[in-house]
Amino acid sequence: MSVASTQAHPAGAATAGGLGVRGSRGPRRDRRFKPFGPSPLLIAFVVVPLLIESVAVFWPAIQGVYISLTHWNGVNPPTFAGLDNYRRMFDDPVFRKALENTAIWLVLFGTVSAAGGLGCAMFLQRERRGIAVYRAALFLPVVFSLTATALMWQTLYQPRGLANGLLSAIGLGSWQHAWLADPRTALYAQILPALWREIGYVMVLYLAGLKGIDPALHEAAKVDGASAWQQFRNVTLPQLRSVNAVVLSVIVIDSLRSFDVVWSLTQGGPYNSSQLLSTYMYQTAFVNTDFGYGCALAVVIFVLAFGVIVSYLIRAFKETD
């Protein structure tokens, strides 16, 4: 079940009534199932992983929401505060900055990596000599950690580093800059390494999607005299719809998780100019030990991600027939 094959799934069992197939041993798809109920071993097979996930994820998540409703500095016991922490956000300029930066990150990082990934995939889609090397070159950064990537780019951004060197080489010496130290450029200078790493990933997703398009469609369009642009607009893009949905969720989830680059390079500075919600949350909770407000910020991140999570789950639901 690659991305390419998701289109082949009949949207059959997508009705809400499909939730919980308790006792549906009927004619539906019983040939897949063993004809008797689960043995204790099978129950253990499900319950043990579920318990581990509950301890590591579900229980802490509930706790996190509760802590967001308290004042807690980690020394004194938490005191219930209602929605105080959420009210505080309205008067918090750093929160506003972090929210704004997260939005900028999402839009810039999202559009450029989607467009760049699709462009690279279309450019490199045909199997021909040397193609594997080109693809590997674009993909290689994907396996680096974001932290290692960030440190590599930190070197390139130094006053006498590659970025300024290239600028002066092409006659733009006056644009030279302390990229990470200037509040006006710190955020953008950190989106670039994240993009460098994401485009190869998105390219791989689109390559699989392009592979799944029936070439007969393009042949037919060509015979009808469609131009390259018309083919792209009316054949390629509609055929990629399911991959687009995948890419969108990957990008949104990755941007909301893009903590590592900023934490490695500027920790949100200078003067909070590159603060993201994720870095501000970490700083609030673990540097300033303001656990209540930190958890409230985490809940905001969750709410922002909620739409994507739900749409992802709906698609997953349709696939698990």
């Binding site: 043995s39 998540a61 290689l140 950690s145 290692a148 997703l205 070439p215 490695s264 809940v299």
Partner: protein, 304 residues
């Protein structure tokens, strides 16, 4: 490319694969075609070079002496060959110790993740478990949560239970947080195994465990290899969980250790470069060794 069905109207061309070139006009006649090919390769080489440039420069800087870097600048051609930076990062910067920690964390985490996820996926895909769909989605949903909402509670709960700052806790957290995703992918894969195989085993008197261990797991090997390569990379590269669950410097795995090294060797760009290279080598090795699995794993995972 999978079998391209040559339509009746297809323009005859040298190779059938040429027809599948979507979205750009198919190359037609002799000279135009070779020109196009040359153009493609020029563009592709340029693109790859731009992508590879940062890596090449970091590799070069990591091999230059500090005097050379200070004297000639970061962009200069190397005037020295100084592999000693790697020694500095390896021992002085603590990368050696950190790599051991990373192995101690990543290897059991990956093995446990695959074992537990395949168990759950097996039961949920091959048997009629009540609420199976709900269970799958609940587990997947847990993996999609932004980790930030878990950080404070996980740190505090592990303090309450006296397991804060231990590698075991980090392993449990990495396994627990990833599980849902792997269960989801694996159950999809296992559902495509024909029921007849299982029925035949059943007739031969095999119990569920034998069916799991002897039949379904071996058939799931490609997916397990793909997910294993992915999981190793993700866990090895992770920064957020180690800095949340661990506090002792000597327990840190590679990624947070790299930040320590950055603080320790401020402005020694050659040593920092060497440290980054050391941190990247294991995942690059996994990628090169399991390249095909790796790519198919990303697409397996992409049934998002």
């Amino acid at each position: 490319m999978a079998a391209t069905t040559p339509g009746p109207n297809a323009v005859p061309s040298a190779r059938p694969s040429a027809m599948s070139s979507a979205a750009r006009p198919a190359p037609r006649r002799g000279p135009g075609r070779s020109l196009r090919t040359a153009g493609f390769h020029t563009g592709a080489i340029l693109l790859s070079a731009v992508w590879f440039l940062p890596i090449a420069l970091i590799l070069i800087i990591s091999l230059r002496s500090t005097d050379d870097v200070l004297g000639h600048g970061l962009n200069a051609l190397p005037h020295s060959f100084h592999p000693g930076n790697y020694a500095s990062a390896w021992t002085g910067g603590g990368m050696e110790h950190a790599l051991v920690n990373s192995a101690v964390i990543a290897v059991p985490s990956v093995a446990l993740t695959l074992l537990l996820a395949s168990m759950a996926a097996f039961a949920l895909s091959r048997y009629e478990i009540p609420l199976r769909r709900t269970l799958i989605l609940v587990m997947l949903g847990g993996n999609l949560l932004p980790p930030q909402i878990l950080l404070v509670p996980v740190a505090k709960l592990s303090q309450v239970f006296g397991v804060y700052d231990t590698l075991t806790t980090l392993i449990v957290v990495e396994v627990g947080f990833g599980l849902g995703f792997y269960v989801f992918v694996l159950q999809g894969f296992m559902r495509s195994i024909p029921a007849e195989i299982q029925q035949a085993a059943l007739i031969d008197g095999a119990g569920p465990f034998q069916i799991y261990w002897r039949i379904v797991l071996p058939l799931t090997r490609p997916a397990l290899a793909a997910l294993g390569a992915l999981a190793f990379t993700w866990i090895f590269n992770d920064l957020l969980w180690p800095i949340t669950v661990l506090i002792t410097e000597s327990k840190m795995p590679v990624t947070p250790a790299l930040l320590t090294l950055q603080g320790q060797f401020v402005s020694y760009w050659n040593v920092i470069a060497a440290g980054s290279v050391i941190a990247a080598v294991p995942t690059v090795a996994v990628f090169l060794r399991f390249q095909r699995h790796f790519i198919s794993g990303l697409n397996l995972g992409a049934v998002k």
